[in-house]
C-alpha cells in the first residue's frame, strides 16, 4: 500500500517535470506551429548553464539566471534563424530545429566535454522531507512540485488573460493581416519563443541534478515531450498538464509493477515450454511490464490519435 | 433554353426535407428542391442564408442532420465527396480552393484523371496519355490561362485563380456541375466571358449555381430558387421570382435597380 502512495507521489513529480518541459513546447508548438525539436536541447542548456553558474555562486542564482540566458538565446534563435525559415513552411522549420538540436549537443560537448558533469541539488534541500514505508521523499522533489504548479498558474494567466495567444494564432495563418491591424507580430513571436525556451531552461535547471547533466540528456527526453502535448491536445495547457501527469503515473506504475506477460499467456491456456529457446514466443514468456514501461506513452499516443485525433483536450486538429 | 423535362424523368438532383444544424443553430431548415436534367438552376439569397452550406450538404462535405439528397435517383446518404464526384457531380468553391504548389496545367490535368478512368493506377504514365494532356490544354485554352500553364497556381492573381477554380470544376466533364459564386472578384469583361463559358460547357448538363451578381443570374438561369434563413421561399422562372414581392423584400431590395 505504501508503495502505491509513493508511486503516486513519484508519478506526480515525474509528470510535473514533464509538464514544465511540455508547457514551453505547447506554447511554441500550438502558437507558432513550430515542431521545436530543439526544445529538449534548451532544457539541456538550462542544466549546463545552471551547473556552470553553480560553480561560482551556488544553485539558487542559477535557477534564476540560467533560464534567463536560455530564454534570450531562444529569442535570438528565433530572431536570426527561425524567422527566416518560417516563411518556407513547417517542414523546413522542423529541420531547422533538428539541426539546431544537433548543433547544441555538439556545442555542449565542445564546451563541457562528453562526461557527466557533477551538478547537484542545493545543500538546502538535500534532505529527506519525510518517508513512507522506508522510502524517502527528498525535499527537492517537493520543491519541484511547487515550481511546476507555479509555472502552470502563471502560464494559465498569460494565455487566458492576455491577447498574446490570439495574436499568434491569427498570425499563423495571416501574419501580414495581423500586422496590418497594428500588432508587432515578429516581436510577439520572438517573445513566445523566448519564453517557451526559458521554460525549458527552468525544467533543465531543476531536473539536471536529479536526472543527471550530460550531453545525451536532451536526446533522452526529445520525443516524449511531443508525445505529451499531442496526447493532451495541441494548444491546451490543461491538456499538457493532464497528459504529463498521465504519463508520469503510467511510467511510474509500470516501472514498479511486477506484472509478467507469462501470467497472461498461462491465463489464455498456454503452457510454458520446457525449453524456451524452441518457442517462437519465448520473448513473451520472459517479458515483464517494466521492460516496456517507457514505450507505453507511445502506445497511448497512437491509440489516442487513431481514435481521437485532437488529443484529450484539443479542439482542433493537431 | 432547356425547358424542364417531363415529370416522369428522374431529376438530376432531388432534395427532400434537408436539414442541417451546427450545434444548436439550425442553418438549413427543411429544403425540398428538385432539379431536372439539363436545367440551369440558380440559388440566390442573402448572405448567410445557407447557400454554400446547401452545396456542402449535396456534395458530401457535410452530413445532413436529416433529409435526403438524391443524385439521378440514388440516395447519397453517407457517401464521401469522392464517391459523389465519381457519380458525376462536380463543384467549385466560393473561397478559392486549388492546388497552389502544382502548375496550372497539373491542376487541370489532375481533375481529369478520375473521370478519364485512370483511378489509382500505377501502371500508366500520365505524360504518355495524349487525351489527358490535350484535354487539359483545351481546358486551359477555355479559361484563358494557357499563358500561365507552367506557373505554380499559387502565384496567379485573384481573378486568375477564380478562373482556374472553374476550370478544375468543369474539367472532369461531370454532368451535374455546381458553381459557388463563379464570377466573384471578376471585372465586367471577365464576368461576361465566364458566363459564356459556363453556358457552353453546361450544354446538355445540369448546372446549380450560387451568385450575387443578378446580371449573371438572370442571364443564365432557367429557374431560380431563393433561399432565406435556410428555407426556400420561392422557386420558379426568373421573371416570376423577380416579380415575387417576398423575394424583393428579403433579398433583391432596391439594389436590383441600382445594379443595371
Amino acid at each position: 500500500m505504501d508503495l502505491v502512495v509513493i508511486n503516486l507521489i513519484d508519478g506526480l513529480v515525474t509528470g510535473l517535470l514533464l509538464f514544465m518541459l511540455s508547457s514551453g513546447l505547447t506554447l511554441i508548438f500550438s502558437m507558432m506551429g513550430v515542431l521545436n525539436f530543439a526544445h529538449a536541447s534548451f532544457y539541456m542548456l538550462g542544466a549546463y548553464f545552471a551547473y556552470q553558474i553553480s560553480l561560482y555562486v551556488g544553485f539558487w542564482p542559477g535557477l534564476l539566471i540560467a533560464p534567463l540566458i536560455v530564454g534570450v538565446l531562444g529569442a535570438l534563435v528565433e530572431r536570426y534563424g527561425l524567422r527566416r525559415v518560417h516563411q518556407y513552411g513547417h517542414v523546413p522549420e522542423l529541420i531547422f530545429t533538428f539541426g539546431l538540436a544537433l548543433l547544441i549537443e555538439e556545442v555542449v560537448q565542445f564546451i563541457w566535454g562528453k562526461n557527466i558533469v557533477p551538478f547537484d541539488e542545493p545543500e538546502l534541500l538535500n534532505f529527506a522531507l519525510f518517508s513512507i514505508g522506508g522510502n524517502a521523499i527528498p525535499a527537492y522533489k517537493v520543491f519541484m512540485i511547487f515550481i511546476s504548479i507555479g509555472i502552470f498558474l502563471a502560464l494559465l494567466y498569460v494565455l487566458t488573460r492576455t491577447r498574446v495567444g490570439m495574436v499568434i494564432q491569427a498570425a499563423l495563418s495571416y501574419p501580414r493581416t495581423v500586422e496590418a491591424l497594428g500588432h508587432n507580430v515578429p516581436l510577439v513571436f520572438m517573445g513566445v519563443f523566448g519564453v517557451g525556451t526559458a521554460l525549458a531552461g527552468v525544467a533543465g535547471v531543476i531536473a539536471g541534478p536529479v536526472l543527471g547533466t550530460f550531453p545525451g540528456m536532451a536526446f533522452l527526453l526529445g520525443s516524449i515531450v511531443f508525445v505529451t502535448i499531442v496526447i493532451g491536445g495541441l494548444g491546451s495547457l490543461w491538456g499538457a498538464l493532464v497528459a504529463s501527469l498521465l504519463i508520469g503515473w503510467l511510467t511510474t506504475f509500470a516501472a514498479t509493477s511486477t506484472f509478467e506477460f507469462a501470467s497472461l499467456l498461462t491465463a489464455i491456456g498456454l503452457e510454458r515450454p520446457e525449453d524456451l529457446s524452441e518457442s517462437y514466443i519465448r520473448d513473451l514468456w520472459t517479458l515483464s511490464l517494466p521492460q516496456i514501461g517507457p514505450i507505453l506513452p507511445y502506445i497511448l499516443m497512437v491509440l489516442i490519435l487513431v481514435f481521437r485525433p485532437f488529443g484529450l483536450f484539443g479542439k482542433r486538429d493537431v | 433554353m432547356n425547358a424542364p423535362m417531363s415529370k416522369t424523368a428522374v431529376p438530376a438532383l432531388q432534395l427532400e426535407g434537408l436539414r442541417k444544424s451546427f450545434g444548436r443553430t439550425e442553418i438549413i431548415r427543411g429544403v425540398d428542391l428538385s432539379i431536372q436534367r439539363g436545367e440551369l438552376h440558380a440559388v440566390i439569397g442573402p448572405n448567410g442564408a445557407g447557400k454554400s452550406t446547401l452545396f456542402n450538404l449535396i456534395t458530401g462535405r457535410f452530413a445532413p442532420t436529416s433529409g435526403t439528397v438524391r443524385l439521378h435517383g440514388t440516395d447519397l446518404a453517407g457517401m464521401a465527396p469522392f464517391q459523389i464526384n465519381r457519380m458525376g457531380l462536380s463543384r467549385s468553391f466560393q473561397i478559392t480552393n486549388i492546388f497552389p504548389k502544382m502548375t496550372v496545367f497539373e491542376n487541370v490535368r489532375c481533375s481529369l484523371l478520375w473521370s478519364q478512368g485512370y483511378r489509382y493506377s500505377f501502371w500508366n504514365l500520365v505524360s504518355r496519355s495524349r487525351e489527358l494532356n490535350e484535354g487539359a490544354d483545351e481546358i486551359l485554352e477555355q479559361i484563358n490561362l494557357t499563358a500561365r500553364r507552367d506557373l505554380p497556381a499559387g502565384v496567379l492573381s485573384y481573378a486568375e485563380q477564380r478562373a482556374l477554380e472553374i476550370g478544375i470544376t468543369i474539367a472532369g466533364g461531370a454532368d451535374v456541375i455546381m458553381l459557388d459564386e463563379p464570377t466573384a472578384g471578376m471585372s465586367h469583361s471577365e464576368t461576361d466571358y465566364i458566363v459564356e463559358l459556363i453556358r457552353k460547357v453546361t450544354e446538355n448538363k445540369t448546372l446549380v449555381m450560387v451568385e450575387h451578381d443578378m446580371g449573371v443570374v438572370f442571364g443564365l438561369a432557367d429557374r431560380i430558387s431563393v433561399l432565406v434563413y435556410g428555407e426556400i421561399i420561392a422557386t420558379g422562372r426568373p421573371e416570376d421570382v423577380r416579380a415575387n414581392p417576398k423575394v424583393q423584400e428579403a433579398y433583391l431590395g432596391a439594389a436590383l435597380e441600382a445594379e443595371h
Binding site: D2, L3, I6, N7, D10, V13, T14, L17, Q109, G113, K114, N115, I116, V117, P118, D120, A128, S131, G133, G134, N135, A136, P138, V210, L211, G212, F214, P215, G216, M217, F219, L220, L221, I224, T251, T252, F253, A255, T256, S288, P290, Q291, I292, G293, P294, I295 | -
Partner: protein, 390 residues
C-alpha cells in the same frame, strides 16, 4: 614503417565519453610502453588511431573496411558487445575472403561471454574478464558476506544485461542457496529517465544487496536514485567509475558502490605503476586511467609482435598471443587462455570512496580502492569455444 592499430569505438554520440577516454589511454600506452622504448622489431612505432563508429554496428563495418584499406592490421574495440559481435563476425569473414589483408581483433571491453564461447574465433582476443568471470568474483564476495540475505538484480535490457542476470542467478544459487533473489529485472537501455520507481521497488523488496551491469547514464541514474531513496546496502556493479560517474556520485556513493574490475590503482601496486599513472595525469589532467586492461592489451600485443618477429603476419602474432603469459605493470599475471582467447588475470572488488585514494577519478577526490582480490579469476571457467585455427 609504423605498425598501425585502428581503434573503432564511439567518438561521437552518447557514448563518446567512454570512447575518447579509451583512445587516449591506448595512445598513451602505445607511446609509453612501446614507442618511448624504441619501438618494435627494431624501431617500428606502434600507433593507435581513432575511427568513430558512433556505436553503430554498420558504421563500424564501414570504418573497419576503411581501416583495413589503409593498412591497419589490428582492430581495437570494446564499447558495446553488440558492435563487438558484428565486428568479430565481419572480421572472420573478411579474413576468410581476403587472406592478404587479415586483421586481428583486440577486444578490450566487450564482455558478452558469447564472444569467447559460441561465437569465438581465432582472430578475436579479449583482454577484459567476461561477464561470467566477473560475476563469479562478485558472487564469491556476496557468498562470503553473511549479512546478505536478499539480493536484487537489475540490468539493461540487452544481451549483456541478460548475461549478467543469468550468471548472477545461477551462481548465487550454487554458492548461497539460502540467499533470496527478491527481484530480477531488465529495464530498457538508455530510455529510463528517472530511476526512482526502481529504487522504490528495490527498497520495498527489502534488498540487502543490488547487482547491476548498468553503465553510463543508466548506472548513474540508478545509483543516485538508490541513494536518494535511503538505500545503504552495497550495490555491486561492473562500470560505476570514471568518465564523470565517480565525480557525479561523490559523497553519495561512498560505502554503497562496489565495482568488479581488473584494475588496481589504489593502493598503487608499484613505483612503475605510479609513474605510469603520474605520467598519464601529467598528459591528460582531466583524464583517468580507469581501464588498466588497455595497458595490458598494448603490452601483450607488443610482446606478441616481438615474439612472432613480424607485425604483418597476423596469424603468427595471433599464435604468439595464444597462451602468452606476461606480468602486468598493475601487479597481476596475465594469461591469454588459448582455448578461447580469454585473458585470465586477477580480479578485484573495488570500493567507491575518498579514503586511501592515491589516484582519484575525475579529479573529484573520490576513487576506487581495492577491497578484495581473486587471483587469476576464472582460470578454469568452462568454455564452449571450438576454434578453427588457420
Amino acid at each position: 614503417q609504423d605498425i598501425k592499430a585502428a581503434f573503432i569505438d564511439p567518438l561521437s554520440g552518447p557514448f563518446a565519453a567512454t570512447g575518447s577516454n579509451g583512445l587516449h589511454q591506448f595512445q598513451f600506452a602505445a607511446d609509453r610502453l612501446v614507442n618511448e622504448k624504441g619501438g618494435l622489431l627494431g624501431g617500428r612505432k606502434l600507433v593507435v588511431d581513432g575511427f568513430d563508429n558512433k556505436t553503430s554496428p554498420q558504421e563500424s563495418l564501414i570504418q573497419l573496411q576503411v581501416a583495413i584499406d589503409q593498412g591497419y592490421r589490428y582492430i581495437i574495440q570494446g564499447n558495446s558487445s553488440g558492435v563487438a559481435n558484428a565486428l568479430t563476425e565481419a572480421i572472420e569473414k573478411h579474413n576468410k575472403r581476403n587472406p592478404d589483408s587479415r586483421v586481428l581483433f583486440l577486444n578490450y571491453s566487450a564482455v558478452d561471454p558469447a564472444l569467447t564461447n559460441d561465437k569465438c574465433n581465432f582472430w578475436h582476443f579479449r583482454f577484459d574478464a567476461n561477464a561470467d568471470i566477473k560475476m563469479d568474483v562478485l558472487t564469491d564476495v556476496i557468498a562470503g558476506n553473511k549479512d546478505i540475505h536478499k539480493v536484487y538484480i537489475i540490468g539493461q535490457d540487452y544481451s549483456f544485461g541478460k548475461a549478467v542476470s543469468a550468471a548472477a542467478n545461477a551462481m548465487l544459487k550454487a554458492k548461497r542457496p539460502d540467499i533470496e533473489i527478491v527481484g530480477d529485472e531488465l529495464h530498457p537501455i538508455g530510455k529510463v529517465k528517472d530511476f526512482t520507481p526502481y529504487a522504490r521497488k528495490i527498497t520495498a523488496a527489502g534488498a540487502d544487496a543490488v547487482i547491476t551491469g548498468n553503465w553510463g547514464a543508466d548506472m548513474l541514474g540508478l545509483g543516485k536514485a538508490l541513494v536518494a531513496n535511503g538505500y545503504t546496502g552495497p550495490v555491486y556493479t561492473y562500470y560505476a567509475a570514471g568518465s564523470g560517474i565517480t565525480a557525479a556520485f561523490g559523497e553519495a556513493g561512498k560505502g554503497v558502490i562496489r565495482l568488479v574490475s581488473e584494475g588496481q590503482t589504489n593502493p598503487p601496486v608499484s613505483d612503475v605503476a605510479s609513474a605510469y599513472y603520474d605520467a598519464y595525469k601529467a598528459k591528460y589532467a582531466d583524464g583517468n586511467v580507469d581501464q588498466t586492461r588497455i595497458t595490458n592489451t598494448i603490452a601483450m600485443l607488443a610482446a606478441a609482435i616481438e615474439k612472432a618477429g613480424t607485425a604483418d603476419d597476423v596469424v603468427a602474432v595471433g599464435k604468439a598471443l595464444e597462451g602468452m603469459e606476461l606480468d602486468s605493470i598493475w601487479g597481476t599475471k596475465l594469461f591469454m587462455r588459448p582455448q578461447d582467447h580469454q585473458l585470465i588475470q586477477n580480479m578485484h572488488i573495488l570500493q567507491h570512496t575518498n579514503e586511501g585514494v592515491t589516484y582519484d577519478y575525475d579529479n573529484s577526490g573520490f576513487g576506487v580502492v581495492v577491497e578484495s582480490t581473486v587471483e587469476m579469476a576464472g582460470m578454469d571457467s568452462p568454455t564452449t569455444c571450438k576454434m578453427d585455427r588457420p
